[in-house]
Amino acid sequence: MKRILFLLLTISQISLFAQTTISGKVTDSKNIPIEGANVYLDGTYDGSSTNEKGEFSFLTSEKGNQTIVISYISFETFIKTANITSLKNLKVKLREDVNSLDAVVINAGTFEAGEKAKVTVLKPLDIVTTASALGDVMGALQTLPGTSTVDEDGRLFVRGGEAEETQIFIDGMRVFTPYAPAARNIPTRGRFSPFLFKGISFSTGGYSAEYGQALSSVLQLNTIDEPIEEKTDLSFMTLGLGVGNTQIWGSNSFSINASYINLAPYQEAFPDRNTWNKPVQSLSGEMVYRHKFKNESLLKLYGAFNYTTFDLIQEDINFENGFQFGLKNRNLYFNASYKNKFENNWRLETGLSFTNDYSDVNIFDDTVLDNENSMHVKLKLRKRFSNRFKLSFGSEYFITNFNEDYISNTNNLYEFDFDNNIFASFVETDIFFSKSLAAKVGLRLENSELLNQFTVSPRISVAHKISNNSQFSLAYGQFYQNPKNDYLKFNQNFKAENTSHLIANYQATKQGQIFRIEAYLKDYNNLVKFDGNTATFSSNYNNNGNGYAKGFDVFWRQNRKIKNTDYWVSYSYLDTERDYRNYPTAATPSFASKHNLSLVAKHWVESWKSQLGFTYNFASGRNYTNPNEIGFLNNKTKNYNSLSVNWAYLIDQQKILYFSVNNVLGTQNVFGYNYKNTPEPNGNFNRQAIIPNTDRFFFVGFFWTISNNKNTNQLDNL
């Protein structure tokens, strides 16, 4: 009997003796021990954690070939299969995970918004809570450095470039006519509602080879993949009404919104400097359908429709009875995109966008009918070889047909028509040499059928992390863009306009604060020149223009260091000259100002259940030509100043009252001067200041969200 007991005990002893010891040491690439790494044999319970010296040791009764796994947060997991007896005194160096949040980011030129971004400059909420922006994406971006305040226009002017030099993309597909139509001296707005987007990437230079036909800037907007809940939104505003609804069923969702804007009541209450024959009226709607397939691939269809009319008479020194301008514009935009992941880390993205834009413009008794049909198709493939090496490549085709009928007051018809088709291919690699050094190298090839021209644009950017909180990056690129429609409709014997960008960026980030400074140099070539006062069909055109833009941008944002307060400051210094259009000599164009400053602040007042915000914009004077003096663009306007305030009051969790006033101090800003075509008897030319249509702009809105869940509201929409 005792023998049996003894036997039982010895068996358990033997089984102990049969165990193998697994041991070793884990360090990082600099031989610093890693404490707390998880070390185990895959598929077994056997394992342990490393101690403060990075050492581990454990027993196992497994036999033969086994896989040892060593994992630690922020490092790539180490995996090795070998015979159990050889897993002794291992020396393992874990490689840093280049995907972690503190890895270097290639960011020269680019501002990111959205939670996916590693360093967020703008938050999604900012678009709609910035006082001066009035819920317009473009308005919010104008508080970032690199942009110039051109308040009579409203479009994005980036680093000495014209507004047409910025291209806008939704889900990777081009938007050909992104701005709503507006009369002279009235700022335009983007056509899309900001509520549909989850992420924004705004590049002011040196962007990826994936994007072309943009000399200065690229703005990418990404729509929401999956809406969270079904709801109905109602908006009652001083300018009009809006309604929106979201439905979700299975793996499908559908969002629709519509709005009707009529400025008549507002213009009645606050008359401006114009005589309105017909007030601004606009009817617009957007729809998004999303479908998620079983294999996680995603299809999105986005459609937008807008119809706008107005007719007004603006005071003009050259027209005794004023300058009459009427417009009817119809715009249709459709965008389909599909993305899918395949085996072996392949990823496919493809899409199509279509734009039809029709305008009927009346200037006195002349009529201009413009019709533009444009299409963009794109296919992009991406292969992830490892976390450290990724390759993407693709092709795209842009088709534009533009047609203009000009009917003069004598009933003569002039017709202008052109097709601007461009084929492009691009290839790009992302290489991480380590967690602190990364590069992106790309090449873009374009062939323009209209200009019969083939262009090659290399792009490269490098980023290096200097310390835990700061990094330095450099970018260089060549960019080509066909001349704008205003010229192409009269002449097609052009070359593409060209610019090169050289950018150096320094960025330091800490929790809740970010500082960046970026210097740039842009060299413009082959800019379009023409003769005469304006570009017409009888002008002589050439591509001999050139120019430069250089300067630096500074951005500082701090969040919650001051209680319940978030603020940012942007400053841009711009030195630019161009010899283009009908300029007799190189000069700083009238849209460029040397100094631009924006200060945006938001403060949450708990006891008032309110968010108060203000935006201050400053721009130094801009050039204009005074014909009473010798020279071209020989004078400067006074500086531009504007202070805007807003107040969002939460009545309850589903109802919000919103007030805002732009230029609350009523500063008398001057954008330039309009001189009389003919001099007075004393030889002097009289002038008229180009000023805003109204000094202040008021907005009051009531927003109501109806959903099953009582917690959501349109605070996000403000």
Partner: protein, 206 residues
């Protein structure tokens, strides 16, 4: 006598064997957790999860420990790394047990980790999703005390943010406590209702 010793010896030997590796591993992980050795505990749960790829509980606890240890972190890199890991294991748990209310509310808890860290950045997308998760969990398990308590706590947080009274949720918490006392857990290592914590939440409520 001798015979009975033999029987007892065999009984002990087989008895030890009858307690499976899984049970031993889980018990050890829980005891590490109780001792406050969060890293070791999470890593052991992680190893068990990898060795038992069809069980949801080890992955569920790996995620839970990671989420708990992420609260109060000041460094976004560390927070994101921890919560990304937690998400990975929660996804494994979900793949092994669909529509499990315990996993749903842990996902809500994970979202709260992000929202508590930076409400402005993460709140916009995650708070709606979190609402949905509680709604779904309540639909599946209307009398689960953990679901009721989690939902009440979440609503209290929202009410506080909007400066509203948290009173309406007190009765829910009381109900959760009552249900928690009565609850009989049949599955081994199934999540338990924390009576003490619930009492504390009730104090905050009143």
């Amino acid at each position: 006598m001798k015979k009975s010793i033999l029987i007892i010896a065999i009984f002990i030997a087989t008895g030890i064997a009858a307690q499976t590796k899984y049970q031993k591993g889980m018990q050890k992980a829980f005891s590490l957790w109780e001792q406050g050795k969060m890293t070791e505990s999470s890593q052991l749960f992680e190893r068990i999860s990898k060795a038992e790829p069809t069980k949801w509980l080890p992955a569920y606890y790996t995620a839970t420990v990671e989420i708990l240890s992420s609260f109060g972190l000041k460094d976004e890199t560390a927070l994101k790394a921890k919560l990304t890991k937690a998400q990975e294991f929660l996804d494994i748990a979900r793949a092994n047990s669909e529509n499990n209310p315990e996993i749903l509310i842990t996902q809500a808890f994970l979202n709260l980790g992000y929202i508590a860290f930076d409400g402005q950045k993460y709140g916009m997308t995650l708070s709606g999703k979190t609402n949905q998760l509680y709604a779904k969990a309540l639909q599946i398990a209307p009398n689960n005390p953990r679901v009721i308590l989690g939902n009440a706590e979440w609503n209290m947080g929202t009410a506080k943010y909007f400066g509203k009274s948290t009173k309406p949720y007190c009765s829910e918490i009381k109900r959760a406590i009552e249900l928690g006392k009565k609850e009989k857990i049949e599955i081994e290592f199934y999540p338990k209702f924390m009576q003490n914590r619930a009492e504390e939440v009730l104090k905050q409520c009143e």
